[in-house]
Structure formats: C-alpha cells, structure tokens
C-alpha cells in the first residue's frame, strides 16, 4: 500500500491496537487493517483527518513540517489561518497573535483572512460576469476538492476556479517581498494550518503551477510556542499589523465564505458525511434552488480541523466575538493590490483522478464487478471488519483486484463451528 502518493497521515504503530474505528469511518474507504495495524491507500486519501480525529489510541498522526524548519529561510513570512485566532482564551485583539508570530522569529505576517477577502471579492466578480455553471461549488477546502476530483467528475464545471485564500496570500506576500528587493531564494512562506488536507494541497500545489507555500506548520505546534510569546507582549509593544476585516475572519467557520459572497441563495454544509450527501444530491440534480455551495470537510468549518487545539464550538464562539471588533471589509479591496482578475484564478486545472474504476478496460471492469457480486453473495454481509476491510463489498473488491487473497475469517470460523 505504500506508494508514491503524498502521505497525509501516518501511523504510530506501537499505539495502534488494530481496532477498526478509522477503517470503518474513513469516507473514501482508504484504510485497511493488515496484520493488526491500520494502513492507508494514499491514492484514495483526501486528507480530511477523520482518522486522526477518531482514533481512540491517538495512533494516527497528521503530517506537517516541524516548527524547526523556521530556520530553513532567511526571510520568513507567516500566514496564519483564520481559525488560528479561535484557539486563544481571552484574546481581545488579533494583533497579539500577529505580534507574537514576529516574536517567534517571523519577519512578516500576512493574514490568510485577508487573502480570503480577496477570494470573496473575486468570487463576486465571477458571479457578476455570469460565466459560471450553477450552483457554483467552493474549492477552498482541499479535502472536499480532492473528493470531487476523485469521485464526482460530473461536477467539474461547477467548481469555483479561483485560488484558495492561502495561495492568494502566499502569492501576494511573496511578490511584495520580492518587489521590496528581498532575494526570492531567501523567502520562505510558512502557512499555519488547521488540517492535513491543506498540508498536501500546498505541497503538491493544487490549482497553481508551482507551490507558493514553502512550509506548512501545525496550528497545535505553533500554538504551544505562541502562547508564551504572546503573554510577554505589553499593550504598548503591539503593532497594528492586522489588515483583515470581519468577513475574512468569518471564513474560519462554516458559512463564512458563503456569507461573504452576498448571495441569498447559498448552502453551507460541514462535516464530511454531510458533504458527501450534498455532492450525491448535486449529481442527481436535486439542488437546483441554490446558486452557491460552500462545503467544509470538518464539522464547524476550519475551526474543526484536526491540527487545532481548541474545541470547534468554543473556537467558533471566540471567532464570533473577535469579528465584532474587526472593521467591515471594504467592498473594493482588490483595488489595493492592482492585480488583474487572472492573478487570482487557477493557473492550472486540477487533475481528475479515478480510483473507483476497477479496470481501465470497461469489459474487464464489468467482469470484475460480476466476480465481486458473486463473491459478495457468498459473504455474510455483516460488514464486521474482521477481514481488515471496511465492508464485505470492499473486501470482495480487494480480493477480485488481487490486493488480498484471504478468506472471510467470519465465514471460516462459522464453518469450523458447524463442523465441530
């Protein structure tokens, strides 16, 4: 199962008890339990982090870059995700977080919440130009985008073809630093991420020609360093660094992106199973009454990402409080940067994948499907997971695809018991 795909999550094998929790709950059936340990088909993994969230033994870990990589570049730009602000108790001013990041050694900060406001402004223009297929589906959550790219090819034309807020932020911050005369090779852009999905999307550069972000740090790890640094700050030290308005911060929670489009007929769904349900409905053409769809893999939106430290509901309440203190977002912020619209749209169409297909050849795929059905008919259909596959059907598909050659252990014991 190890292969060339990006490893979004990895296993602490000593802690893994071989229970089937992650396997049963993985939304793309990407996990199997082999020899008592969970393992991942990375080509099917969308990086949603459900397994990290659910593992009762904390054996599933998300991959990200260590904070020590801060020394990899001479000029370091920190990109805090909007959800980061929801992690702190009694935070009265977002500038504490930004000044704290400078105290940790970053040379500059660029708020992804600000980048999100550019994304919203561009979305509005794209709607006004009416060059869209309704309903337009947000592509800001990389786990959702990955799910669509691998499983919902029908929805291709509905995808909002703009860069994610983090890419917009990285691109702008980098360009500005270069303009100020900083050598490009000295610049390191560090995103402080709520989730493993952003880690792989930024490493691979989804929708961009080449990645704009150099390192992806975990909110949890940065938080541990940031709290003491923030506590040392005196109100008089505080530089007014924040440029983010309240719409940008709203992106931290489900519905924030949709609200910022100023469209009345939007739908916002969060939690990966709900997202799948909406996508299935879209394929059946049942959601004709909405024109914009925001989908977040995590319950609550990005405050629910698995790299966060705080409970999503608490973080959401804090974000709401902080938003009230922020200025209203200006309606023509794009003018500030003076970039053409094309600066903000996908530079490169993301690649569609097809891990569902049982065979490249349709006839062989049909043959395999028949074998799957025949085998499935002999199985108990308990979906108990004893074989290490999430369902009897998944097991049958693994057998027919030659991934495993085992027998159903349940059936085996029952036959043995009967013959005793």
């Amino acid at each position: 199962m190890e292969n060339n795909y990006f490893h979004t999550v990895f296993l602490d094998a000593d802690k893994c008890k071989g229970c089937v929790t992650c396997m049963k709950r993985c939304p793309t059936e990407a996990i199997r339990v082999r020899n008592g340990k969970a393992s991942v088909f990375y080509d099917r993994c969308i990086g949603c982090g459900e397994c990290v969230r659910l593992c009762p033994s904390h054996a599933k870990l998300a991959s990200y870059d260590s904070f020590d990589t801060i020394n990899d570049f001479k000029y370091k730009i920190a990109l805090p995700a909007p959800s980061l602000y929801g992690q702190f108790n009694n935070l009265t001013d977002v500038n504490y977080v930004l000044n704290g990041l400078l105290a940790l050694g970053f040379d500059e900060v660029f708020e992804v919440g600000r980048g999100a406001e550019y994304a919203s402004a561009v979305t509005k223009i794209i709607f006004d130009q009416n060059k869209v297929k309704y309903p337009v589906i947000s592509t800001a959550c990389p786990a959702v985008l990955e799910l669509i790219l691998s499983r919902y090819h029908n929805l291709k034309d509905n995808l909002l073809n703009i860069l994610a807020p983090v890419d917009i932020s990285a691109k702008l911050a980098r360009d500005k630093a270069i303009k100020r005369g900083i050598p490009p090779e000295d610049i390191g852009v560090y995103f402080i991420s709520p989730c493993p999905a952003k880690v792989y999307a930024l490493k691979l550069g989804v929708g961009v020609n080449k990645p704009y972000v150099d390192r992806v740090l975990s909110t949890g790890e940065v938080y541990m360093k940031l709290v003491p640094a923030m506590n040392k700050l005196e109100p008089s030290d505080l530089k007014p660094l924040s440029k983010m308005g309240n719409l940008g911060l709203h992106w931290a929670t489900s519905g924030g992106e949709a609200t910022a489009t100023f469209r009345s007929k939007y739908l916002a769904a969060d939690g990966i199973e709900n997202v799948k349900h909406i996508l299935d409905g879209l394929e059946d053409n049942t959601l004709t009454e909405v024109d914009f769809i925001e989908l977040d893999a995590c319950a609550g939106g990005c405050v629910g990402g698995v790299l966060n430290v705080e409970n999503p509901f608490v973080a959401k309440a804090r974000i709401r409080q902080l938003r009230m203190k922020l200025p209203a977002t200006s309606s023509n912020i794009l003018a500030d940067e003076g970039k053409p619209l094309s600066y903000y749209v996908w530079e490169d169409e993301p690649q569609f994948k097809n891990f569902d297909k049982l065979d490249e050849n349709r006839l062989s795929a049909m043959q395999k499907l028949m074998e799957v059905e025949n085998l499935l008919n002999t199985l108990p259909q308990y979906d108990c997971g004893m074989c290490g596959a999430p369902s009897c059907r998944a097991f049958a598909e693994d057998v027919v695809s030659g991934i495993v050659s085992d027998k159903c252990p349940r059936l085996d014991t029952e036959v043995k018991n009967e013959t005793k």
Binding site: R151, H153, N154, K156, D280, G281, E283, D284, N285, T286, E289, N354, D356, K357, L358, D359, E360, R362, L363, A365, M366, Q367, L369, M370, E373, E397
Partner: protein, 140 residues
Amino acid sequence: MENLHFEYEVAGNNFSQAGMASDAVKSTLKKMGIASEDIRRVAIAMYEGEINMVIHGGGGVAVIDIFFDHIEIKLIDHGKGIENIELAMTPGYSTAEDEIRALGFGAGMGLPNMKKYADVLEIESEVGVGTTVYIRVDFH
C-alpha cells in the same frame, strides 16, 4: 457476456432513504469507468423515477441491468397508477399534495427530465394496479 444485475427495494413514503438505489447504481457505473456525462444522465433519470416511486407509487423495486454499452432500469410499483400518462408528462404537471411540496418535491418536472436524459423512456401504468417505468441510457 452476461450483464450485471441488481435489485433494490425502494420504500414508499420514506424520504430519508430516497435516492439510495440511484446512489448504488452511480457507484457501480463509476467502478465500470463509464463517462461522467452518461453517469449524470443515469443519475438524474433514475433519481426522479425513484422519487416518484416513493412519493406517488407507495414504494416498489428497482431492477437494474447493466450491459457493456447501456443500462436498463425498471422501476416497478404497485401504487395508485397514472390515469393519463400524456398529461403526467407535461412539464409542471403534478398531483403532489401540499405537504409533499412543502418538502421540496412535486415541481412536476420529474417525468419531463427523465424523458430528456433517457435514451428510451416507456411507462406502463394501470390505475389501482401500479406503474412500471422503463429507462434506458446508452453509454458513449
């Protein structure tokens, strides 16, 4: 070569489960590698038919036969039947009650959409006996 054959029960008046048969069919077609545009046509036509069985037909069975180059879908119910099929096919025509409309169904576009997306649509119905809808979608 024989074809793939599936049968799915569709429960009457159970809105939470409506669409499960068409989801299962979609999943099979994706595993076969059928073009997404064809899957879309199957999905829309079958979902509308399935929903009609749930709302108007009191539930029934969906019989699916998948061949190399096309799919045949038979939706069989023993519900109240359709009095005037031609009228039922008119866009916007619906006998759905207000409470069903309140749930977002009953726009009267189901049968017209099925006609639009299917390559063949045949309806046999007898009042008080039931309805059989036959949908065929060709793959490209």
